[in-house]
Symmetry: C2
Subunit: 224 residues, 2 copies
Amino acid sequence: MEKSYKKIVEYVKNEITAGKLKPGDKLMAERELAEHLGMSRNSVREGLRLLENIGVLNSQQGSGNYIDLNFNETMTDVLSFMYLLKGIGLDQVTEYRLLIERDAMKLAVQRATDEQKKMIMEQLKGLEEAETEEERVVFDKAIHKILVEASHNDFLITNYEALANLMDRYIKSMRLNIIIGMQSQNMLENTHRMLAEAVAKGDLEKGILGLETHFGYIEQYKNG
Amino acid sequence: MEKSYKKIVEYVKNEITAGKLKPGDKLMAERELAEHLGMSRNSVREGLRLLENIGVLNSQQGSGNYIDLNFNETMTDVLSFMYLLKGIGLDQVTEYRLLIERDAMKLAVQRATDEQKKMIMEQLKGLEEAETEEERVVFDKAIHKILVEASHNDFLITNYEALANLMDRYIKSMRLNIIIGMQSQNMLENTHRMLAEAVAKGDLEKGILGLETHFGYIEQYKNG
DNA sequence: AGAAATTTGTTCGTATGTATA
DNA sequence: TTATACATACGAACAAATTTC
């Protein structure tokens, strides 16, 4: 016998596939839902927590439960717990990040919008003019983020964001170490210029070279 | 003010990072947890549903709540809802699958174990000797699964499994259409032989060629 | 084998905090 | 400001599955 609180996940999934629920739409009130599905309010609420965790539900006290699109947090949770529980090492994390960015680069050189090209060059300028390590981290993040977003593949983007969150939360010092290490060798701006210009000019070769160089330094400095 | 039921997620995460909870371990009883964290049992249960959904918890009635490693279902849910709600098209799904498999191939030719090499050749033999479309689907799935597993990158593997589940559930007919289409052109065994032998012999070039060919046919036949 | 204890699954009732008109 | 609707939270109770003795 399936657990009762899972019924509501099926219910919402069906309503979505049937086109009756779209992002932003409000669900029935919890009491109403409970009656409609023939279960108690507490069980309904447990089911709503599942949906909330998946990222398709936003519960607002006093207002209601709304269909939402917020998959990054869930993806982050999944990757984070995988990292913590499966004994996944740093190597696998950075390897996966390189794979994603390389895939993204291939697509980005073909698909980057003018707006994205403009923005990535602006962030590069910011990086080159930054005066503190903390500032550089911010611009570094932004450049990689735009690069991946320019792939216009939602699965790729969500995975990258989650991975970036994971690294921020559990391997926080790593990015700073890398920035400092690369800065001390004057390679920080060089590699990021390659990445940004590759996207802006649609130059795949330069992009891949930039990534290889960049991740070479990551290998070198990731452990501080 | 943070919602109360999220406290337990933090609690479990901390216990894991502190090394006090490992996969298979049993949590305190719900009533005990409620007292320990200063909240009601209903709220505890809502929090446990979050953990269950992430895939780190397995609730067994009458027995207890156990730390678990089951990320595939969550990942499938996330990708599925993204597909349903974000209006992601078939193109993006197959594109992402090709990206994953290409990345996996690069790693698989270097890392496949002897056991995996043996198994992928066995599945190929099964495919070549299969007599019905349904059988061929099973062997086709197995070959791709082993290929990805041979990458030995857990993030890659989990994403692929989720994507495969998504396709099985929401685009069910697709794989069958492709198998039938490729079979009618006698290309089914050819492409899969390339994939299997690439992994077994560590031949990257043949592997990439096999994938390009394979996904060329997918483009051709995916819409039936 | 069977009874008792333990634990999760589910329900109801109630009270409180929050948003909205 | 007030009234209403709603999510949040708590406590108690019983059902159902499992474990223990």
